[in-house]
């Protein structure tokens, strides 16, 4: 991932539920660290035209999702955007996106988008 202007895809899988949510966090944190250090690298080297990069969380292989999973996803997106990375969620299976929306977390993503755009 040399050029942070490209969108990187993070394929998520497994169960995003309260019982194992810590593991999922660890996984995400790992990726975040990598991204942040690369961003810092790029910034130093001046290789990117605009700050930040983009990451898309590919959810096609997620097996289970509950409120804590939605919260984690939304939080991660929020944090990444706070860090200046354009983050988004894609390929969410219909039942999960239903859940995501009925729990209201889609608003978090919208708000984060807004914040990003306002910045």
């Amino acid at each position: 991932m040399g050029n942070t202007n490209e969108t990187s895809f993070l394929a998520l899988g497994g169960e995003w539920v309260i019982t194992v949510i810590n593991q999922q966090l660890q996984c995400l944190m790992g990726h975040r660290k990598t991204m942040l250090s690369e961003m810092a690298c790029d910034a130093r080297e001046g290789t990117s035209a605009a700050p930040g990069g983009a990451v898309t969380l590919d959810m096609s292989r997620v097996e289970a999702l509950d409120a804590s999973g939605c919260q984690l996803l939304a939080s991660f997106v929020q944090v990444m955007r706070r860090d200046g990375v354009k983050a988004g969620v894609a390929e969410m299976p219909a039942s999960f996106s239903e859940l995501f929306e009925s729990l209201g977390y889609h608003r978090v993503l919208q708000a984060a988008d807004q914040a990003y755009e306002d910045a």
């Binding site: 169960e15 539920v17 309260i18 019982t19 949510i21 810590n22 999922q24 966090l25 975040r32 097996e63 289970a64 999702l65 509950d66 409120a67 804590s68 939605c70 919260q71 984690l72 939304a74 939080s75 929020q78 944090v79 039942s95 999960f96 859940l99 929306e101 009925s102 729990l103 209201g104 977390y105 608003r107 978090v108 708000a111």
Partner: protein
């Protein structure tokens, strides 16, 4: 919601399942109790509320703990009950039956989850359909005719409102197992819902705990539901101040308010429900006016202890009693003067042990209402099936008895009550023809008397038919004669083989006869007596020892055997003079202050090889059992002590004349004598009458 979510819920919450199962059980019992006490014509609003709350609590808990199947029926039940309590539909006795049925189905589902018992999905379907049909018949909206007279506070609001609900839960709701997914689903059922979540993250993301909840919600709900309806949904999830409900009157809400808006408790618009104080329904304060059927266990300060723990405690105290007895025995051979302190201390120990024992035994005491409580329902349903009109009266439900007895007395009592209903009480026509009221009465009475528990089953039916019983006994080859007194004839129904296929209807039992009832009662150290008057009714009296486990006894010796005589049967002991011993009608008696009391030589009763044969070299222990007196002859009196009753039947069988055994201080076993049974055996032997296999005891 995906099944994986449900799975996750179960993994998390299995440790709490036990609590849910118990609470659910209690709610179901409560529901049944209140339903049965309802006056169908004018149901008490408090009662209706109580039933509604019970159903609601079960539904809530079931949803949280992932038992979705239980929420189906309870949801329908709850909807119906809600309409009833809000006077939208009139109550009918058919509803009581349906609700009782629904309760049964939920109980079945509960048993399925709790014990892995299989249950019939068909039953669930059927009940759900019936409930649904009733619900549909009433219609979704609508005030039933006749509800106009209700106080304004009781009226449901049928106005549609746009509400904004702010929910700022605790950090730990995910970990507690609250399923926000379910809350959202329930809100959706109330109307149109839009949800918006806000996540407030810590500054340093490294501090983010994914199991914690950083989310707060804002729900936009367009609904007819009342604020209380909404609060009910959040019973388990939110403290009062964490849920703010307000009506939105303008079009276009604009900005969503920030999550940390200070909560102002929503104004209560209805007077029905009580305030929600705690997070969970079982914490909820139900002392508010109108609170009905509060679970008394939680009000008085008490703690739940598992039965096995209590039993273990009792066993251990029992062992302590034995050890103390051993110590006392050893001390008896130590010079009391030289070792005065030791003796005093041992006496103190004996007192302490006795007190401890008494306290511990009282743990096992429970009110007999636990058994009686099943009868209102049973009588109601059975009477309906038989087409008889029956009223059930119960007194003395507070009488306490040993828990072990409760479990074992239930079956015999049930059989007796069924018998009353089936055979004792006449049909309505027969009663009217006999100039009795059309409604038959069955009375269950419990009381304590003289160290025993007395349970009466009384009916005002046709009474026992002497001729019929005698005829049947002769038919079945049971020894009987016209010379028998009424009491003896009544006891014939306990003879094995008496009940046959033709008398045993499907209702009274499948081949379970009265002989089994007698045997069960006797196994508990109890007795049954019958009184009956043709045309007037029958009274069956069961008398049981107060407790199964401990007994104050007198140790006596015969030859090199030891026996224990229960102290409460003993009047006195004496050493007879030669002149006092006489023979009367072939039986040896002793003259005590002018009365001639039969002598019972233990040696002969138990066919022992050694022991004193001459009455004057022995000792008589005078016993009195419900008026009957006897002088039990033994070689020697040993000591008085408390003994722990051990079961003989556990591994062996019932020994005639013994009410169990005990382990003495030296580790040897001694039989505990069943005095009334001894009297009976002796009488049978003396009069040469055959002792029926069922070991019948009568009170002549």
């Amino acid at each position: 919601m995906t099944t994986a979510n449900a799975k996750a819920a179960n993994i998390d919450l299995n440790q709490f399942n036990g609590v849910f199962f118990e609470e659910c059980s209690e709610h179901l019992e409560e529901m049944e109790r209140v339903l049965l006490s309802l006056d169908d014509a004018a149901p008490d609003p408090d009662a209706l509320n109580a039933i509604f709350r019970a159903a609601h609590s079960i539904k809530g808990g079931a949803g949280i703990f992932g038992f979705e199947d239980m929420t189906v029926v309870t949801h329908l039940l709850e909807s119906l009950l809600d309409r009833v309590r809000n006077h939208q539909i009139p109550y009918s006795s058919a509803m009581t039956d349906l609700f009782l049925e629904a309760g049964d189905v939920v109980a079945m589902q509960l048993a399925g989850h709790r014990e892995g018992k299989p249950f019939s999905a068909e039953n669930v379907e059927q009940v759900s359909l019936k409930l649904q049909r009733l619900l549909d018949a009433v219609g979704a909206s609508g005030e039933a005719a006749g509800s106009g007279a209700d106080a304004p506070g009781a009226m449901r609001q049928t106005v549609i409102r746009r509400l904004e609900i702010l929910f700022t839960p605790d950090r730990d709701i995910f970990q507690r197992g609250v399923r926000v997914e379910n809350l959202v689903e329930e809100l959706k059922e109330l109307g149109e819902l839009q949800t918006s979540a806000t996540v407030s993250l810590p500054e340093d993301f490294a501090a983010f705990d994914p199991e914690a909840c950083y989310t707060s919600w804002c729900f936009s709900l367009t609904t007819e539901a009342s604020d209380n309806d909404i609060r009910d949904i959040f019973i388990f999830a939110a403290e009062e101040e964490q849920l703010v409900i307000r009506e939105v009157r303008d079009e276009g809400e604009g900005e969503l308010p920030p999550p940390d808006v200070a909560g102002r408790p929503a104004v209560e618009e209805e007077s029905l429900s009580s305030q929600v104080h705690g997070r969970r329904a079982y914490d909820r304060d139900e002392t508010a006016p109108g609170a009905f059927g509060r679970r008394s266990g939680e009000n008085e300060s008490s703690i739940r202890v598992s039965v096995s723990k209590a039993d273990q405690l009792i066993n251990q105290v029992g062992e302590l009693v034995i050890t103390q007895a051993m110590l006392s025995q050893v001390a008896a051979s130590i010079d009391p003067v030289l070792h005065e302190t030791l003796h005093r201390s041992l006496l103190q120990l004996e007192r302490n042990t006795r007190d401890l024992q008494r306290s511990v035994m009282s743990i096992r005491l429970v009110p007999i209402s636990l058994v009686f409580n099943r009868f209102p329902r049973m009588v109601r349903e059975l009477a309906a099936k038989l087409g008889k009109q029956v009223e059930l009266r119960m007194t003395g439900e507070g009488t306490e008895l040993d828990r072990g007895l409760i479990e074992k007395i239930t079956d015999p009592l049930t059989h007796l009550v069924r018998n009353c209903l089936d055979h004792g009480l006449e049909s309505t026509e027969a009663r009217v023809a006999a100039a009795k009221g059309p409604v038959g009465t069955i009375t269950l009475k419990a009381s304590q008397m003289g160290g025993r528990i007395i349970i009466d089953v009384i009916d005002d039916g046709a009474g026992l038919n002497r001729e019929k019983i005698l005829r049947k006994a002769v038919e079945r080859g049971i020894p009987a004669s016209d010379a028998m007194s009424n009491e003896e004839v009544w006891q014939l129904i306990f003879a094995p083989g008496f009940s046959t296929a033709e008398t045993v209807t499907d209702i009274s039992g499948r081949g379970v006869g009265m002989d089994v009832v007698l045997r069960n009662v006797q196994a508990l150290g109890g007795r049954i007596q019958i009184e009956s008057e043709p045309g007037a009714g029958t009274r069956i009296t069961i008398s049981l020892p107060l407790t199964l486990a401990i007994l104050d006894g007198l140790s006596v010796g015969v030859g090199d055997h030891r026996f224990i005589l229960p102290l409460n049967a003993i009047v006195e002991s004496l050493q007879p003079k030669k002149e006092a011993v006489k023979t009367l009608n072939g039986m040896q008696v002793v003259n005590v202050r002018g009365e001639y009391i039969p002598i019972l030589p233990l040696r002969e009763l138990f066919n022992l090889h050694n022991g004193v044969t001459d009455p004057c070299s022995g000792i008589f222990v005078l016993v009195n059992v419900e008026g009957e007196q006897a002088a039990i002859m033994v070689d020697s009196l040993l000591d008085e002590h408390q003994v722990v009753i051990k079961s003989l039947e556990e591994n062996y069988r019932k020994v005639p004349g013994a009410a169990g055994a005990t382990i003495l201080g030296d580790g040897k076993v001694a039989l505990i004598l069943d005095v009334p049974a001894l009297l009976q055996i002796w009488k049978n032997r003396t009069y040469g009458r055959e002792c029926p296999a069922g070991e019948v005891t009568t009170n002549e």
